[in-house]
Structure formats: C-alpha cells, structure tokens
C-alpha cells in the first residue's frame, strides 16, 4: 500500500516532468546529459582555476546565458529556421569578410567584431550557419546529391572555412569544415566522392602549408616532434601528456594535481582542461566524461533519426556529430594524438563563445525534434 503510494508518486513526478519538458519542447535525456557535462566542467574549473570561486561564477553565468538561448531557440516555430537560413549564412559571410578586411588593414590577427556593447566572432555564427545552409540546399533535392549539388555545397562550405583560417583561426575553420562536410556525409554522399574529397583535402593541406602562418606551421611541426623544442612550442604537449600520464588510473586526487596546480600545464582552465581531469581524476574520471560526451552525441543522433524532414534531419545530425568532433580534436590534441589547434572541450573549457554556440545548436536541435512530425 505504502510502496504503491511511493511508486505512484514517483510515477506522477516523472510524468509531470516529462510533460513539463514536452511543454518547454526540451528533450529530457539530452538535457540531463548536457547538464551533467556542464556540472562536471564547473567542478573541474574550481580546481583548474586554483580554487577561484569567481571563475566558477563567471563560468556559470556563461552557461546560464547559453541555457537561456537554448531554451529560447527550442521554442522556434516550424519553418522559421528554414526561412532565416540563407540570410543567416549571407550575413555571417559578410561579417567574416569585414573581419578579415579589418585584420588585413590592421596587419594582425582579427577574430572579433566589436559592436561597442558586445564583441563577437562571426566565425562562431558560421559553425551553425554553414550546416544550416548545406541542409537547406539539400532539403528540396533528391538524395544522394548529384555532383553539381556537391560542388555547390563544397563552395558553400569552403569559402567561410578559408575566411576563418585566414583570420587566422585554424581550429574554428576546421570545425566549420567538419560541420558542413558531415551534412554532406549524412546526405548520402557517395563513398568515391568522400575518397576524392579526402585526397583533395590532403592536396589542399600540402598547398595550404605554404600559406600558413609561421606559428601554425610550428604547431604542426611540434606535433610531429614535440621534443624538438621542449621549452618552446612543444611545451604544451609535453606538459599535458605528463599531466595525463602521471594521473594514472585513479588520478592524484581532486585539487592535488601537481602539473596543474603548480602551473606547469599551460591553458589549464581553457583548451588544456582535459589534462587537469586526467591528472586529478585519472583514467576513471576521463572515461566518465567521455561516456557523457558519447551519450549526448548518440542521443542527439537518435533524435535526428526520428525527424521526418530532410532539413531537420541533416542539420541535427551534423550538430550532433560536430559536437563529438570537438571532443575528439580537443582530447586528441591534449593527449598528444593531434596537433595543437585551438578547439575547446565542449561545455568544460572556460571562456570563449563556444559554450553559447554549442547550446544554441542544441536548442535548435530540440526545436527541430519537437516539430519532428511536421515539416520544419
């Protein structure tokens, strides 16, 4: 009797929560996964910032802003996204060109556009606008895309990618490229085109080598042989692998990482925060985080597969897969598998605008899922 009461009460709460999420057009499991990652991130930020509550507060505010944006975007009516897509893409492109031009005139790196009250990176918009544009172009066309469509898509992807890399911001450029490319993959691009693209990618990288900035070339060389310059460019990779490796199975304990706490690890609250987790919480802590990331990725992919509309499906699928690309590039770079490119660990790295963009993407994904039965 009593147990039944409790069970039914639990049942009722769950039902009520589900209904609330339904009303708010949110997906419960996805939200839970994201919240778990964000909490984990704030927990580790407290340690990596050297016990600085102010950093945690700032990080939480940023997360809150992202969450609000996610909630707002999740409420979007069907069709709105599709209608604004070309305008968003073109606006982003114009802003990118303006930023590049300012950078060229000012003879220096330029990523920001200062609007007086806020500074923002047009390349961040492109992380979402490019997959949106690709999905938009494919929504009316039969799939798999024919060669002409593929070439058109390639142009839509490569122009903003090139503009971003020229800023120079290799990390964001790669993410834009991946986001667009994944749309093409999910759209059913034939295997032979994929191989062709991969080959031309290698060719482009070879040619691009000559256009890279010295520091970018240095990063690649450093990745190939970090010990060649242990105090210079190789320092980041060496110190982060030492941090991870010395963490062992269970880590040195929360707040007890010598590499992180004694400043041997550079960028330890931002791009290299993964190494702090590896050092203080060990393989177990890292696996827990990777598990959460994989869960969020798979849940998002599942949601995408439930959608009936091509635009919604392709965009959602791309957002989901790009999220994992973030994780892989960041973890790979910090553990010495990939060269150092400025890609943050999603929802965990402190600062930057990527948290807002990522959560906006998930807001869009939830909106699309809520409207899955209708044409987006």
């Amino acid at each position: 009797m009593l147990r039944e009461d409790v069970e039914s009460a639990t049942q009722r709460t769950l039902t009520r929560t589900t209904r609330l999420f339904g009303t708010l057009r949110l997906d419960g499991p996805l939200l839970a996964g994201l919240a778990a990652i964000a909490l984990y991130g704030q927990f580790i930020l407290f340690s990596s910032s050297g016990g600085d509550w102010e950093s945690v507060l700032r990080g939480s505010i940023r997360l809150g802003l992202g969450a609000v944006l996610m909630l707002v975007l999740a409420q979007l009516r069907p069709g709105v996204l599709r209608r604004i897509t070309p305008w968003l893409y073109l606006t982003g492109l114009v802003l990118l060109i303006i930023v590049d031009a300012i950078g060229y005139i000012g003879k220096g790196a330029q990523r920001w556009l200062d609007l007086g009250f806020v500074r923002f990176q047009p390349s961040e918009i492109m992380k979402i606008a490019v997959p949106m544009a690709c999905a938009w172009l494919l929504r009316e066309r039969p799939l798999p895309p024919d060669p002409r469509t593929s070439l058109l898509l390639a142009a839509v992807i490569l122009v903003p990618t090139a503009l971003t890399i020229l800023q120079p911001d290799l990390g964001t450029g790669l993410l834009i490229l991946m986001a667009g490319f994944i749309v093409m993959l999910l759209g059913g691009l034939a295997l032979r085109y994929i191989l062709l693209l991969a080959a031309s990618g290698v060719a482009a990288a070879t040619i691009g080598w000559f256009f890279l900035h010295d520091y970018q070339r240095q990063r690649v060389l450093t990745f190939l042989d970090p010990q060649a310059d242990p105090l210079g460019a190789g320092y980041h990779i060496i110190q982060s692998t030492i941090a991870i490796g010395s963490g062992g199975l269970f880590g040195k304990g929360y707040l007890q990482g010598t590499q992180g706490q004694l400043d041997f690890l550079p960028e330890r609250t931002t791009d290299f925060v993964f190494a702090v987790i590896g050092e203080e919480l060990g393989l177990v802590g890292v696996m827990l985080l990777l598990g959460l990331y994989v869960f969020v990725t798979l849940r998002a992919l599942f949601l995408a597969s439930q959608m009936r509309d091509t635009f919604a499906r392709l965009l959602s699928g791309s957002l989901a897969a790009t999220f994992f690309v973030y994780v892989f590039i960041n973890a790979g770079m910090v553990s010495g598998l990939l060269p150092v490119v400025g890609v943050p660990l999603p929802l965990v790295s402190y600062g930057g605008t990527s948290i807002v963009t990522l959560l906006a993407g998930f807001g869009i994904l939830m909106s699309l899922y809520a409207n899955r039965k209708l044409a987006a």
């Binding site: 340690s47 039969p142 010395s246 007890q256 597969s305 699928g317 790979g332």
Partner: protein, 644 residues
C-alpha cells in the same frame, strides 16, 4: 533515368539517413576507442615514467651548505671560524621602483652610487622572486642606518649567512691560508655538486690542503616549485611532502701552531721582509710559521675588490708570497754544522786537529783565492772554533776533501734539496747541487762540467745551493735530536664536530740520517753551542736561562768580484745580504728548532738571531712581551729623539 529527373523519395532518404547515422555511430565508437587507447597507454602503461617526469617538474633540490670546520691552534685558540655576516638583499618583485630604491640606498651611504648601474643589471638578470645580495658585510653602523630607514625601502632586507672569519687577522696567514671565491680553474677540478650553495673554497695553506675535511658534506632539501621556479608551500589543495637530507658539518682542525709564539715571532719581525719556521724537533710539529709581510685573509673571505688585489699583487714586498715555504735562498753558513758532521763521518777531519786560516783558501795548482769572511783570517783553529767563528776556509777545505758527491748525498739525508713533505702544499724543493744535477739543468755540454771550485763553495752554502726556511728549520731539528727525523706538519688532530671525538694524528717519522758516531754529533752541537757562547751570535744568547745551539749565516745577493771589497754602504738596500740564523734549545733536551731569515738583513747575528731569541723565550719561558701598539711605538721614538 536521368539524375536531373529524379524526384525525392522520402522512404529511401529516411533509410539512407539511418544508414549514415549508423555509420556515424560506428565512427564515433571507433574514435572513442582510439582516445581510450591513447589514455590507457599514457595513464596505465607508461604511468610510472610520467609520474617521474611530473615529480621532476615539481621538486627542486636545494643544497644546504655545511658549516666549514673550525681551525684551532695547539692550545685551542680559534684561528678560523664561521661568523654570521649581515648583508643587504633585495627581492625585485617587491621593490616598487628599483632605480629610486638604489638611489635612496646610495644617499644614506649603504651602497656606492657608482655601483647603481651594475646592480640594476644584476637585479634584472635574476628571477623576480629571488633575493639578490646588493651589499655584503654590513657593520653595526650600516645596520643601524638601515634599521632607521627601512620603511622607505620595501623589498630590501638584511639577511644573515655564515662567512669565514679569521679572528687573528694577518696572524699566521701563510700557514693558515684563506678561503676565496671559487675561480674558473677551481671549477675545472672540483665536484660542483659538493660546492652547490657555497661560493668559497680553500685557496692556499691549511684551508686548501685540508679542504675536503673542512668542507664537510652539503645537506639537501627538497622544495616544491611551480612552473616559474618559485618555491611554494601550498598550491590549491596541494601540500608539499618533501624530504630533507641533513649534511655533515666540516671537521675541525687542531693545528700545531702556538698562536702566542706566532704573535711574538711576527711582532719581532716588524716590517722587515722575513720568514721564520719554528718546530718541535721531537715530532715535527710546527710551532710558528711566519712569512712577512702578510695580508689579512678576511679580505679574501669577503671578496677582494680589484684595486685591493692590485695593491697586494703589485706590492714590491710581495705580501702574497710565502717566503717560509717558497722562498729559496742560499743557505750560507747555516749548513756548516752539517758539513762538519759530514767531515767527521767520512773521517776527513779530526775534531781537535788544528787548522790554520790565513783568510783565504786555494785549490792545489790554482791561484784562485777563495776568501774568508774575515779578511785577515782566523789563525789556528779547531772544529769547535771553526763553527763558532764560522771560518770559511776550514769548510772550503773539508768539502774539498769530502768531494761533491758524498757531500750531496750526506746533506740530502737532512732533507735539503727536496720538499720536506709538510702537510700543506706549495713548498719549493730548493737546490742541492751535484754533477748529476748540473747535467739535468744545463743544456750546453760546456756548462754541464762540475768545477772543483764549485765543490769548495758548496761547503759554505754558496754557489748553486738554495734552501727554504722550512728546510733549514727541519735540518736544524734533525741536528738537535741527534738524527731523529720527522716530517714537518701543521695539523696535529682532527675533531668530529658532532661527536666531539678527537683523532690525534701520529707524527710521521722520516729515515734517520746515517751519519757519524754519537760523539761526532755532540762535537758539532758543541760547536753550535760555542756560536752562542763567545761565537758569532753570543750577544743574542746573553742572559738566556737555557742553553742554545745556533748558527748564523749570510746569503749573498750581490756577488763581489775577485779582489774587490764588499762595501756595504755603497750597495742598494735590496742587494744587501740576507741574514740567516738557525738554532735549537735547550741543547740537552731540545724542545724547539728554528730557522730565521731576514731579507737584506745583512747580518745573521745582528738581525736574525735576536728575533730567534724572542721566539725561543716565548716558547720555552712563556715570555710574551706585550706587542707595542702603534701609538706606543711613536711615543718611544719621540722620547729617543728628545734624549738625543
């Protein structure tokens, strides 16, 4: 059908997407496995290696210099110790304005205004959190001055460290040696690890010879450092758990020197260029080792300025030169007792056999006259008088009869011509000439020939022969003890500073010279006794309550031409003869043997012997005249002037 004509088939597209989504899942899984593989490689398989690397990052080993051993004289008076030295240090990052701070310190006189630029350069070359010494050796006045103004100088503070100090100043500096800054040539031969955290090393004398014992062993302390090398106690939740390995303080040394006798000896020399070595003939213990002028070893310990070093180095009196060990002078008549003993041993002379001295000696078939120091000669004399009057012709004759080879070998047994083996470094061997020696030294055949005349002057310690004061003191000690022979030494015992256990070093005997019968030794010693009683140095022995055996000597600096007369007044002070005196006492049971040389002192009896008498009195009678203070001396001089 043409591609263009294709229409969208939603079911096919749905399936296509699902396939691709599934492929994406597999790719995600594969990439996750790659990441996991990498993490397992780093965190499990190579965990130990990375743990070592992380440990090496965070821990720095800081040397804790061991206190240097203390040096005592034979009665426990401190000759070298470690004293806290106060210095002004500055932590760059705590100083708001470096230039203004240094200018302020210069204004109150704590640093030299000329040094400001150099100091700024030094400070800038250091890490911002390292304390940089900007002024060494503050005296009480400086400290008071800083204490009053300290609030004007944030980031500047007084620090203490142990520095070598020689409380007796110049006293026995040539025996003791000194510590000085580690030079580049020192760095080439030392184990740098042992000197981490120290900036000084023993340079000469006991400080250098017993460097290893005095130095001790550095301790080590682990400190936790951050990436900028700053030492941290705590970082985040991290607390240092660090090891400290204590060092061993340096061994204390007990010298054979008697600093009171040493002081008497140095005071007796006054400002002459001179050397004295006094030792206990029964064990080789050096009682006093004087080389004047000297210098203050504290100057080296605290770091010599360039002008200070130039002044010392360019002083014509060569205060840095250790005359007692490195000064090689013709021994002159001081070796006559040994030559006499050689004559008796080889039977070329009888003690009572009369010898006529006409004031000159010639080799058979040669017209060359070897002159006596007394132009009219000594008349008819025996061995005793020959020693007492230091008759040259007597010894010309003996050495000619003994022959150069036998004389060389005999004298070598008294330690001449080779290092005595004293326990500090740097001593010279001098020259004990022989035909073989000539062959090794001269290149030209004509110059290698040993002339009979060279044998003749060998007998009075002239010609090629040179000796150090230490060698002559050692020779005298062997004579005094009738053949007991010990290696001279300065260090008598060592003490472990922790257990206070004293290890006394045994005297190190040398082979006894195979020379004469006991009565031959007594004949020679009787001659030396006669030197002090009516002989050349009788004035210096006047009133002594103990018996002294001695021998005067002069070493020619300036060679007098044949048929010319030595005109003392006409030659410059630096070309005058060196004055020698060797002695031991009491004759019956010798307790002390010594050699004194006064450079350009002219007369052994007039200059060197009185100095020796003061040393003998001090050691045997514990008679210590209070050293004349500078003021007192001036007063005495005025008094004399008024009397005249």
């Amino acid at each position: 059908m043409s591609i263009r004509g294709r229409i969208k088939d939603f079911w096919i597209e749905q399936r296509l997407f699902e396939q691709r989504a599934l492929a994406t899942v597999f790719i995600v899984a594969a990439l996750t496995l790659v990441l996991l593989g990498r993490l397992v490689w780093l965190q499990v398989l190579r965990h130990d290696e990375y743990t070592d690397l992380a440990q090496g990052n965070r821990v720095r080993i800081e040397p804790q210099p061991a206190p240097r051993g203390i040096i005592y004289d034979r009665n426990g008076a401190i000759l070298a110790e470690n004293k806290p030295a106060y210095q002004l240090e500055l932590v760059p990052e705590e100083v708001p304005d470096l230039k203004a701070t240094l200018q302020g310190l210069a204004r109150i006189g704590l640093i030299d205004a000329d040094d400001i630029d150099d100091l700024r350069r030094i400070v800038r070359s250091r890490r911002p959190f390292d304390s940089v010494p900007i002024r060494l050796f503050l005296n009480d006045e400086d400290m008071a001055c800083f204490a009053v103004n300290r609030f004007d100088f944030p980031g500047v503070d007084i620090r203490t460290r142990l520095a070598r100090s020689y409380p007796q100043g110049e006293l026995a500096v040539h025996a003791l040696g000194y510590v000085g800054s580690i030079s580049e040539s020192d760095l080439a031969r030392i184990d740098r690890e042992q000197y981490a955290g120290t900036s000084t090393i023993g340079k000469v004398g006991v400080e250098a010879a017993f460097e290893e014992q005095l130095r001790g062993r550095n301790g080590r302390r682990e400190i936790m450092v951050n990436a900028r090398g700053r030492s941290v106690e705590k970082a985040g939740g991290l607390e240092a758990q660090l090891a400290a390995i204590p060092g061993d303080p340096g061994t204390d040394l007990m010298l054979t020197l008697d600093f009171e006798v040493q002081r008497v000896a140095e005071d007796a020399v006054r400002d002459q260029r001179a050397a004295i070595v006094a030792l206990d003939p029964n064990n080789g213990d050096i009682i006093a080792l004087v080389s004047r002028p000297g210098f203050d070893p504290n100057m080296f310990a605290r770091g010599l300025t360039r002008p200070e070093f130039r002044t010392l180095n360019e002083n014509p009196d060569q205060p840095l030169f250790n005359r007692a060990l490195r000064g090689t002078y013709p021994p002159g008549s001081t070796i006559k007792p040994v030559v006499a003993l050689a004559g008796l041993t080889y039977g070329v002379v009888q003690p009572t056999e009369p010898h006529f001295c006409a004031g000159w000696f010639s080799l058979p078939g040669s017209s060359h006259r070897f002159r006596d120091w007394r132009p009219r000669g000594h008349g008819t004399i025996d061995l005793r008088t020959a020693i007492a009057q230091s008759c040259d012709t007597y010894f010309y004759d003996i050495s000619n009869k003994i022959g150069v080879r036998r004389l060389h070998d005999f004298m070598a047994e008294f330690g001449l011509g080779k290092p005595t083996g004293i326990d500090i470094g740097g001593e010279k061997a001098g020259i004990l000439p022989s035909p073989d020696w000539k062959k090794t030294v001269f290149k030209k055949k004509a110059e290698q020939v040993w002339f009979p005349g060279e044998t003749v002057i060998f007998g009075i310690g002239q010609g090629y022969m040179t000796s150090t004061p230490l060698q002559l003191a050692h020779m005298t000690a062997v004579l005094a003890t009738r053949g007991k022979n010990y290696r001279p030494r300065l260090v008598r015992a060592m003490r472990d500073p922790e257990t206070q256990k004293v290890t006394v070093l045994a005297p190190r005997p040398l082979p006894k010279p195979e020379a004469g019968k006991p009565e031959d030794w007594e004949r020679v010693i009787d001659g030396m006794l006669a030197v002090m009683q009516g002989g050349t140095a009788s004035r210096a022995a006047a009133g002594a309550p103990y018996s002294i055996a001695g021998k005067t000597g002069t070493a020619q600096v300036f060679t007098v031409a044949q048929n010319a007369r030595y005109n003392e007044a006409a030659i410059a002070d630096r070309l005058r003869d060196h004055a020698w005196f060797v002695a031991f006492a009491p004759v019956e049971a010798p307790k002390i043997a010594l050699a004194v040389i006064v450079e350009n002192g002219r007369s052994g009896s007039g200059t060197a012997a009185p100095i020796a008498r003061k040393v003998l009195d001090a050691y045997l009678l514990r008679k210590f005249p209070s050293p004349p203070a500078a003021g007192e001396r001036a007063v005495a001089a005025t008094a004399e002037a008024t009397e005249e």
